[in-house]
Amino acid sequence: MISDHAWLIPALPAASALVIMLFGRRMARAGAEVGIAAIGVAFVLAVLVAVEVFTANVSAVAEVEAADTEEHALAGEQVASTGSLALTEAGEGEETAIPDGVEAFVNERAVTLTPLGDGFDIEAGIRVDGLAAMMFLLVTFVSLMVQVYSTGYMHGDPRITYFFTLLSVFTFSMLFLVIGNNLFMVLVGWELVGVCSYLLIGFWWEERDNSNAAIKAFLTTKLGDVGLMVGVVTMWAMFGTFNIGEIITAVREGVQAGGAPLDSGLLTFALIALFIGAIGKSAQFPLHTWLPDAMAGPTPVSALIHAATMVTAGVFLVARLYPVFQASQAALNVIAIIGAITLFMAGLLALVQDDVKRVLAYSTVSQLGYMVAALAFSYTAGIFHLFTHGFFKALLFLGSGSLIHAVHSNNMSDMGGLKKSMPWTFWTFLIGSLALAAIPPLAGFWSKDEVLAGALTAGGYTGNVVLILGGLGGMITAFYMTRVLYLVFAGEYRGAGHPHESPGSMKWPLVALAVPAVLIGFANLPFEQFHPTGFAAWTMFSLEYFEGHPAEFVLWLALGSTAAAVLGFVAGRALYRVAPAAERDPVLRLGLVTRVLENRYYLDHLYMGVIVRPLRDRLAVLAYWFNDRVIDRFVYLVGVGTQRIGQATYTYADQRGIDGAVNGIGVSANWSGGLLKFAQSGNVQFYAGAMFVGVFVFAVLFAAA
C-alpha cells in the first residue's frame, strides 16, 4: 500500500531543505530547483495516497450501503410474510447498521521514539486517513505552486537560497503536523510551522516593521500554544497516551487511563485548552491581530502560510480530534461562538483596508471563522471549506503578489485600471474573488453552503448565530471583494511607472490554482446520489459519522446566500464602479464606524497598552529593579553587614584585645631585655667573676642542703 510510505511526503521537503541549505548557493537557480522537484514528487505521492485512501473509504461506504440494502430487503420479505406491522420500523429514521470489519480507512504505524519514564513512551508514527490525505493534497499542491511562483517573485533577492530553504522547512513542518499519529508530534509540527512563519514574516529583517510583525505573530500564536500545551498535557494525564487513535477509542468507550470513568469536566477543559491553541494559530478572535501584520512577509509566503496551510492548522487540529470534541457539547458551543464572532468581525475589518494584502488577510481570518464555526456542527463542512479556501485564497494572494510585483506598492490607491495591462492576473483574480464570494457554481459556493446548511440543521442558539452572522458575512465578503476588484482593475492607473503582466513563472501557477478554484466544489455536491462517492465519504473519520450525516441541500438557503452575495456585489459595483479618490472612499466616511474599524476595534491598542508595554517596559523593569534593589541588595547587605561586623571584630576585639595582649607580651619582653642587657658587659673577667660567685653560692646552698 502506498500509504505505508506516506512518511516520504514530509521526508522529501525535509531532505530538500537540507540540500538547499548546504549546496543551494552553488546551484544555478539558488536551490529552487531542488525544492520544486522534491515537492513535485511529494505531490505525486500525495495524489497516490489520496487515491488509495479515498477509494478505500468509498468502497467501505458502498459495502455498508450494500449491507443496508440487503437488510432492507430482508425486512421487506418479513413484511411480506408477516403483514404490515413491521413496516414502520424499517422506515427512514432508522440507524444504518455498520457490518463488522468495515471501517473508515486508517493506516497507522509507529516506532518508539523515546521512553519518558514511569512506563510511558513517546512514539513517532504516521496516521494516514481521509483527513490527512486531503491535507497532503492541499499542502503539497499549494506549496508546489508557491515555489514555482517564487522563482519569479523573489528573482534577484540576495537571500533567495535562504528563502527556498525556509519554504522547504515549512512544507516539511506542515506535513509533519498533518501526518503525526500523536499529539506530541502535532505539537512539534505546530511549533515548527510557527517558527518558519516567524522567520518568513521577518524575511526582510532590515525593516523594523517586518521584525515587529514577525515577533507579534510568533508571540501571539505562542500565547495560544500555551492552551495547546495545556490541552495536550491534560489529554496525556487523562488517557496516559499521546496517540490520537487511542484517545479517540478511549473517549468512545468512556474510560480514562486506569479504567476510571471519563471526567467530562476535565475533558471539556482539555478541549477548550486545545481550541485556544487553534484560536492562536488559526487567527480567531481575540488572537487574530497577528495575521494582518504578518502580511509584512513576502507575498508567496502569505499565500502559502498565512492563507492556505499554517493558519488552517487550528481547524485541522479540531478536525483531527473531532470524535473527542463531539463528546463535549460545551466545547463545540465555544467553537461555534468564537467562529461566528471571528467571521463577522474580520469581514467588517476587510472593508476599510487600503492595502490589498490586508484585505485578503482579514478575509482569511473571516473564512477561518467560517471553518471553525462549521466544525461545531459538521466535520465535513469545516474541512471542505478548509480545502476549497486553500486553493482560491492562495490564488488570490498570488494574484495580489502579481499586482504588487507590477506596481511596487501594496496600496490599492496606487493601482487602478490594471485589467488591460495584466489580463491574466485579472481573470484569475476574478475567478478567485467569485469563488471567495460564494457565487455558484464556484468552489466557495459549495463549501460555504455546506457550512450554513450544517448550522441550519443543527439549529438552536449557536446554530442560529452562525447562520445569521454567516449569511451577513457572505454579503460583506462579496462587497469587499467587489471593492477590491474595482479599485484595482477598473478606472485609471494611479500609481507610478508602467505596470505590465508578470512573467510566466508567476502567471502559470495562477492559472493552475484557478482550475481547482472553479472545479473543486463539485467534489462535494450536497445531493444524495453524489454523497457516497463524494468528498464527505473520502475524508470521513468513521462510518457512523458518515451515515449519521446525510447530504442535504436546502434550496432556499442556497438561493438566499447567493442572493446575499449578489446583493453585496451590486452594492459594491454601485459605490466603486467609478473609483473614488482615496479620501472619498465611502467606507472611509462612516465616522465612528470607520474609526473603530480602522483601529481594528482598538484590540491592538489594548494588547500593546495593557499587556505588552506594561509587561515589557514596566513589569520587567520592576522585576529587575526588585532583583537588583531587593534580593541582590539583601545579599549585598548581608555581605556588607558581615564585612562591617568583621571590621568591628578586627578593630576592637582583635587589634585592641587579643592582639593587644600578644603585643603586650612582646613589649614587656623587650623592656626587660633592655634592663638585662647591661649584664652583658663584654668583659670576660666580669663573666668569670660572676661565674665564680654563682658556683660559690650554689656550693653553699648544696652544702646547706
Partner: protein, 510 residues
C-alpha cells in the same frame, strides 16, 4: 581490570594534566594549549569508553570502586556511574574538550594560557568527580574543589567587576555548602549503622530510619546548599554577576556543568535519602521554580547587556528543571535530567556565541551593537538565531523535550503529593510555567530583533568584523549538532536515564 580503574583514571587524568601544564616553562606558555587539548581529548575518549563499556542490559551502578579512604571519619572512596550520572559526566568531558579547543581561538586578558588551562583541567576533575562520587564526603570534596579554579577564572580573567563577582560567587556558594555539610554530618550520625554512603543512606531513607522532623531539617540544610548552586529563586543573584564577568570558557563551564551539580544533587542525594523531607518541600520548590521561570523571563526583558541577559535566561531554564524535580515523578526527574543536558549544551553554546560577539565588538551592550549582526557577520547571526530559538524551546531542538516533560509531570505529580492535596497547586503552576514559555520566547525574539536584525551601524560595517573562524566552527559544530539531535531524538538521553530513574524513584510511586 578496566572496570575497576576506569573512573578513577578518567577523573584524575585532568588533574594530572594540570600538574603537567604547571611544569611548562614560562617562556613557552603557548605549549600549554596543545597539552590541555591532548589531555581533554584523552579524557573525553575515556569518558566515551566508559559510556561504550556500560552494560545497558544490567543497568544500575557500574564501574564501582568502594575502598576505605579516611577511616577516622568513616569516609570511603566510593565511585561508580549509572544512567543518571552518565549524561552529565560525559557532557562535562565534552564541554571541557571543546573549551580547550576554543582556547586556541581566544583567552581573555591577561592571557596566561598556562595558568588558565591548568585551572580549567582542575575544574574538570572537580566537575566529573561530583557526578561519580557515591560517598557524601567524597562528593563534598569534589563539590568544593570546583570553587577554587572557578574563583580564579572569574577573578583573574574576568570583566571589569571581576573581583566583586568572584568573591560573591565563592562566598555565596560556600555559604550554602556549609549547611549542606552540617546536614551530611547529621545524616551520618543519625544513620544506623553510621555511614556516608549514598546508596546505604538511600536504603535507610526508604526503610524509614529517619524521623519526619529530622528529614525536614536535614532536607532544609541540603536544600540550601543545592538551591544556591542551581541557583533557585531567590538565591540566584550571584549568577548574573558571575556569568557576566566570567571569561567565555568560564561562563560556558559554569552554565554547562556547574549549575547542574546542584540539580544533580537534588536528584541523587536529597530526594532519595530524605523522601519525606522532599515530599514536604516539593510544593515549595515547585512554587520557587515557577517564580524563577516567570521572574527570570521578566528580568531578561529588562536587560541591556547581552551576556547578562543570557545569564538571567539560565534562571528561568533551571526553573523548568527544578519544576520537573519538584513533581517527584520519574517523568519529572527525566525531564529535569534532559533539561540539565539541554541547558548545558544550549546555554553553553549561547555563551560561546556571546563571547565571540563581544570579542569582536568589544562591547556587550545591546544598544552599542545596534542590530544588524546578520549584515556584519551573517554566519554568526545564523548560529545565534539557531541557538536562541533552541533555547526558547522550539520542538525539534534540544530545549523542548525537557521543558515539555516538566510541564507534563507538573500536571500529574507524584501520588503522595496528590494525596496531600497539592494537585490543584501543581496544575496552576503548570499553566503558569507554560505562560513562562511565551515570555521566554518574547525576550529571545526581542533580543534577536535588537541584535541580529535591522541595519547595522556604519561603524560596524566599516570595522570589517571577521565572521565565524575555523576554530569556532570546530568548537561549536558538535554543540550545534547535539542541539539538533537531542531535540529530534530525545531518546539519546532518556534511553540512558529512564531505567535508573524509574528504579530510584519508585519510592514516591502510588
Amino acid at each position: 581490570m578496566w572496570q575497576d580503574v576506569a573512573i578513577t583514571i578518567t577523573v584524575f587524568l585532568p588533574l594530572l594534566g594540570a600538574g603537567i601544564i604547571t611544569l611548562v616553562p614560562k617562556s613557552r606558555e603557548e605549549a600549554a594549549k596543545p597539552i590541555a587539548l591532548v589531555v581533554s581529548i584523552v579524557g573525553f575518549a575515556l569518558a566515551l569508553g566508559i559510556l561504550a563499556g556500560y552494560d545497558w542490559d544490567a543497568r544500575g551502578l557500574q564501574y564501582t570502586v568502594d575502598v576505605p579512604w579516611i577511616n577516622a571519619i568513616g569516609a570511603r572512596y566510593h565511585v561508580g556511574i549509572d544512567g543518571i550520572s552518565m549524561p552529565l559526566f560525559t557532557l562535562s568531558y565534552l564541554l571541557t574538550f571543546l573549551c580547550s579547543v576554543y582556547a586556541f581561538h581566544h583567552i581573555e586578558e591577561p592571557g596566561k594560557p598556562k595558568a588558565f588551562l591548568a585551572l580549567m583541567l582542575l575544574l574538570q576533575t572537580g566537575m566529573a568527580g561530583t557526578f561519580i562520587a557515591f560517598d557524601l564526603i567524597l562528593f563534598f570534596v569534589f563539590w568544593e574543589l570546583v570553587l577554587v579554579p572557578m574563583y580564579f577564572m572569574i577573578g583573574v580573567w574576568g570583566g571589569p567587576r571581576r573581583e566583586y563577582a568572584a568573591v560573591k560567587f565563592f562566598l555565596y556558594t560556600l555559604f550554602g555548602s556549609v549547611f549542606m555539610l552540617v546536614a551530611f554530618l547529621a545524616l551520618y550520625f543519625t544513620s544506623e549503622p553510621n555511614t556516608f554512603d549514598m546508596l546505604a543512606l538511600a536504603q535507610q531513607g526508604e526503610a524509614g530510619v529517619f524521623t519526619a522532623t529530622f528529614q525536614r531539617l536535614a532536607f532544609l540544610g541540603i536544600f540550601l546548599g543545592f538551591a544556591i548552586k542551581v541557583p533557585m529563586w531567590p538565591f540566584h543573584t550571584w549568577l548574573p554577576d558571575a556569568h557576566t564577568e566570567a571569561p567565555t570558557i568560564g561562563s560556558v563551564l559554569l552554565a554547562g556543568i556547574l549549575l547542574k551539580m546542584g540539580t544533580y544533587g537534588f536528584v541523587r542525594i536529597a530526594l532519595p535519602i530524605l523522601p519525606e523531607g522532599a515530599m514536604a518541600f516539593a510544593p515549595v520548590i515547585a512554587v520557587l521554580a515557577v517564580i524563577a521561570i516567570i521572574y527570570g523571563a521578566l528580568c531578561c526583558l529588562a536587560q541591556t547587556d547581552l551576556k547578562r541577559l543570557i545569564a538571567f535566561s539560565s534562571v528561568g531554564h533551571m526553573g523548568f528543571v527544578m519544576l520537573g524535580i519538584a513533581t517527584l515523578t520519574p517523568v519529572g526527574i527525566n525531564a529535569a535530567i534532559f533539561g540539565m543536558v539541554a541547558h548545558g549544551v544550549i546555554t553553553g553554546m549561547l555563551f560561546f556565541v556571546v563571547g565571540s560577539v563581544k570579542d569582536r565588538y568589544h562591547t556587550r551592550a545591546i544598544a552599542d551593537i545596534g542590530g544588524g549582526l546578520f549584515q556584519t557577520m551573517p554566519r554568526m547571526g545564523a548560529i545565534f538565531t539557531f541557538v536562541a530559538i533552541a533555547s526558547l524551546g522550539l520542538p525539534g531542538l534540544a530545549g523542548f523535550p525537557g521543558e515539555f516533560a516538566a510541564l507534563l509531570a507538573a500536571f500529574q505529580p507524584a501520588a503522595g503529593l496528590v494525596e496531600a492535596g497539592h494537585l490543584t497547586l501543581y496544575r496552576v503552576l503548570m499553566v503558569l510555567g507554560a505562560v513562562g514559555t511565551v515570555l521566554t520566547a518574547g525576550y529571545f525574539l526581542w533580543m534577536m530583533q535588537r541584535v541580529n536584525m535591522g541595519v547595522a551601524p556604519q561603524r560596524w560595517k566599516d570595522a570589517g568584523l571577521a565572521d565565524v573562524s575555523v576554530i569556532e566552527w570546530g568548537t561549536w559544530l558538535p554543540l550545534l549538532l547535539m542541539t539538533f539531535f537531542l531535540g529530534v531524538l530525545p531518546g539519546l538521553v532518556w534511553g540512558i536515564t529512564t531505567a535508573d530513574v524509574d528504579a530510584l524513584y519508585s519510592v514516591f510511586g502510588g
